[in-house]
């Protein structure tokens, strides 16, 4: 399992056909999403809603691809990915509730898009689990 792939992408690399497909599709969708956001910034404001919708669709596609990828793994790899996802989910809930409380208390607003910062947390947890089993 490639360490760089685990820490940077939260996957076990491109050795398997499923891993390769997952990486290729996600890279294409991410590239299109970034291009769309870039072009969207140049468009008038009414089009920004469409850009936001397309961004959401792109992220949803990546989520579905992630699910398909995890489903294609063998039982140990599947277990490691699911444990890392579950761990990140619990942190997400705790963080979202804390930030929500903070927002209510002091009126501080945080863009939910920043929750993407939890991806490295998932990757780090995956790395820790891989070290435990391999």
């Amino acid at each position: 399992m490639a360490l760089s792939s685990i820490l940077l992408l939260g996957t076990f690399g491109t050795d398997s056909p499923a891993g390769k497909r997952h990486h290729q599709r996600c890279i294409w969708v991410l590239a299109l999403m970034i291009l769309g956001i870039g072009l969207g910034a140049l468009l008038p404001k009414p089009y920004h809603h469409a850009v936001a919708l397309l961004t959401g669709l792109a992220v949803a596609f990546i989520a579905v691809e992630m699910w398909r990828y995890v489903d294609s793994l063998d039982e140990l790899e599947h277990r490691l990915q699911m444990e890392a996802l579950a761990w990140a989910y619990v942190i997400l809930i705790a963080l979202a509730m804390s930030l929500g409380g903070l927002a209510l208390a002091i009126g501080w607003k945080i863009d939910p898009a920043w929750l993407i910062a939890l991806e490295p947390v998932r990757a780090w947890r995956l790395h820790a689990l891989v070290r435990r089993f391999t």
Partner: protein
């Protein structure tokens, strides 16, 4: 659980990668099973036994060095 996969692999001269490919697993999973870090599921245990043409209890011994996850 204790396993004798390494010994069993030696006879047909299969590497971990060979066995992993036969069973549709990653090499790391075979390594984790061999080193006792991971106890396979029952279906996978049957698959492993079948790959070597043995019974499941000839590969996996629950009495020695019992380990739970």
């Amino acid at each position: 659980m204790t396993y004798c996969l390494r010994v069993l692999r030696a006879e047909p001269q299969w590497s971990q990668a060979d066995l992993a490919e036969k069973l549709g697993l990653s090499r790391q999973t075979i390594n984790a099973i061999e080193t006792g870090r991971y106890d396979p599921s029952l279906p996978l245990a049957f698959q492993l036994a079948e790959a070597f043409g043995l019974r499941i209890d000839e590969i996996f011994n629950p009495r020695e060095g019992a380990k739970t996850q």
